[in-house]
């Protein structure tokens, strides 16, 4: 029982970070209609900024965290401006290939600067353990949960209740009509990228605080799983990204601990098996909207 609850907690931790990253995928896809495959690598960059700011430069932790989020947001802005914006009217396939290119570019830059070795991160968020129903839960887990829930609710209200959020929704539905109502579509898309990348920055802080290491490929597998989470929950849907993230995290943790024989080594793959089954049964994902075209 004890072990089962520990596994669940692990799964929720992992799932919360997936959810944050999936939020970025889903937002950018929903509004700009593109898959930003470089999104996962922003987490890797964020984790390296933590390495530089905290381990190497010994900047104070809160300041380092703010700088990390700011750096990720800036990176998102620059990538969008240089790589995606010129392709606004290109086919989705060209944009997708460009995104994969950006992803490899970021990985190789990290290789060039930091080398192939895994970098270790000092424990920079150190809080005591909590006692939850007789199970001791690490403080960092609680911080991860609370942060994820706050961000999720904040983002949801931002999109539903502010004029920028409404502009985003309008652009996501009909770019042309939005433009004719005076909405600056390019600017709205850039802002979406900045917000998505800032979320990836927050995810990178939580990731580094929990797992305490990073290598140039950290973002790649993590990003793909978060993308799977976004698709699982129904891409374009914010609550979907949250649920998808948690489910993928839980499936991964549970299969890693409970699969018989040596199958647990394949826990990464198992999450994708569930994704495939899910998509066969419900192609739009859990909460995805079905677009019925009127004939």
């Amino acid at each position: 029982m004890q072990q089962f609850i520990m596994t669940l907690i692990d799964g929720i931790n992992l799932g919360s970070v997936y959810a944050l990253v999936a939020l970025g995928y889903t937002m950018v896809y929903g509004i700009a209609k593109m898959l930003n495959f470089a999104h996962g690598d922003i987490i890797m960059v964020g984790a390296y900024t933590i390495v530089v700011f905290i381990t190497r430069l010994s900047i104070s932790v809160p300041l380092a965290m703010i700088l990390c989020v700011a750096f990720c947001a800036l990176l998102g802005f620059v990538v969008e401006k240089l790589a995606y914006k010129p392709l606004r009217h290109a086919t989705p396939l060209s944009v997708l290939i460009t995104a994969i290119g950006v992803s490899y570019l970021l990985q190789n830059l990290a290789l060039l600067i930091f080398g192939t070795n895994r970098q270790f991160i000092v424990r920079f968020i150190d809080v005591g353990n909590f006692n939850l129903f007789g199970v001791s839960v690490s403080g960092i887990s609680v911080i991860i949960w609370v942060t994820t829930i706050v961000i999720m609710i904040g983002l949801y209200t931002f999109i539903k209740k502010t004029k920028l959020g409404r502009a985003m929704l309008a652009v996501s539905e009909d770019k042309g009509a939005a433009q004719l109502m005076g909405i600056n579509v390019n600017r709205t898309i850039s802002i979406t990228f900045v917000i998505g990348s800032a979320l990836a920055g927050v995810a990178s802080i939580l990731y580094s605080a929990k797992y305490l290491n990073v290598d140039p490929y950290t973002g790649s597998l993590f990003g793909i799983k978060a993308f799977a989470a976004a698709v699982f929950g129904g891409i374009g849907s914010i609550p979907g990204a949250m649920i998808g993230g948690l489910l993928i995290g839980l499936i991964e943790a549970l299969t890693a601990s409970y699969l018989p024989f040596n199958l647990n080594a394949a826990s990464d793959g198992f999450a994708f098996v569930i994704l495939i089954i899910m998509l066969v049964l419900k192609p739009t994902g859990l909460l995805g909207k079905k677009n019925t075209e009127k004939v």
Binding site: T162, K163, R166, A170, A177, L180, M181, G182, V185, K289
Partner: protein, 255 residues
């Protein structure tokens, strides 16, 4: 005051590849006028709308709005200068609520920064409150205030057309372009629409340019009209005179 020229289109034209969709069209619309644009299908009416709203860049000619040359400007700039439109095939933000559709139209009128909204500063609440009030007022004019929270796609057809007009008005235009506002309406709805259009002109001090096939509507409310045929101007002038022009009758009915 009513005789001031608001929109002046000079010899405007556009080609798509080898196809000359609109050629050498000129027209002048005065402040406060209700102006009709008619012509057979494919004669270039919507293309002309698309040029005036910045969707297409004209390949020849110019247009002046309020004395300012807006030829080739972007849709956003043109909208900010005061030209708003509706669409032939309704293009509402279907999955947004009725009131949010209008609020998108109010986007540029109310300013607050992203920071103010994230930090929930007083100006954010103040501006959002004003937006809510203005949106409700506009919806009230079109009798849509009771449906403010339903999704735009769930409105009946006639109300969707009205909401599109409300959304366009929310952007604060001086010139409103209506692309076939009566399409798909029954005679009663069309009758009501004519009242609404007159009401908008009188109460919002609006100048209105509309494309329409329903001759009853055109002859009922338009003071002047222009007729397009194969992308060129066939006739323009007082509605009754133009509609009795033998050339116009020929273009519509065939010789």
């Amino acid at each position: 005051m009513t005789q001031v020229e608001l929109l002046e289109v000079n010899n405007i034209g556009i080609s798509f590849g080898g196809l000359r969709a609109v050629d050498n069209v000129s027209l002048t619309i005065k402040n406060g006028q209700l102006y009709g644009l008619i012509g057979p299908n494919g004669s270039g009416k919507t293309t002309l709308f698309n040029m005036i709203t910045g969707v297409y860049k004209p390949t020849s000619g110019t247009f002046y709005f309020n004395g300012e040359n807006l030829t080739g400007k972007s849709p956003v700039e043109i909208n900010k200068k005061g030209i708003a439109r509706t669409f032939q095939n309704i293009r509402l933000f279907k999955n947004m609520s009725v009131i949010d559709n209008v609020k998108v139209g109010l986007h540029n009128k109310h300013k607050y920064t992203m920071f103010e909204s994230i930090l929930r500063l007083p100006r954010f609440f103040h501006e959002e409150q004003k937006m809510e009030e203005e949106a409700l007022e506009l919806l009230g004019v079109f009798d849509l205030d009771k449906e403010k929270d339903s999704l735009a796609c769930n409105l009946p057809y006639g109300k969707q057309r009205k909401l599109e007009i409300a959304r366009a008005l929310a952007t604060g235009p001086k010139l409103l372009l209506l692309d076939e506002p009566a399409a798909g309406m029954n005679p009663n709805e069309t009758e009501e629409l004519m009242e609404t259009i007159r009401f908008i002109r009188d109460n919002f001090n609006m100048t209105i340019l509309l494309i329409e096939h329903d001759m009853k509507l055109v002859s009922g409310i338009c003071e002047e009209i222009s007729v397009l045929n194969f992308g060129t101007l066939l006739a323009s002038g007082k509605t009754s005179e133009v509609l009795n022009n033998p050339e116009v009758i020929a273009a519509y009915l065939g010789e």
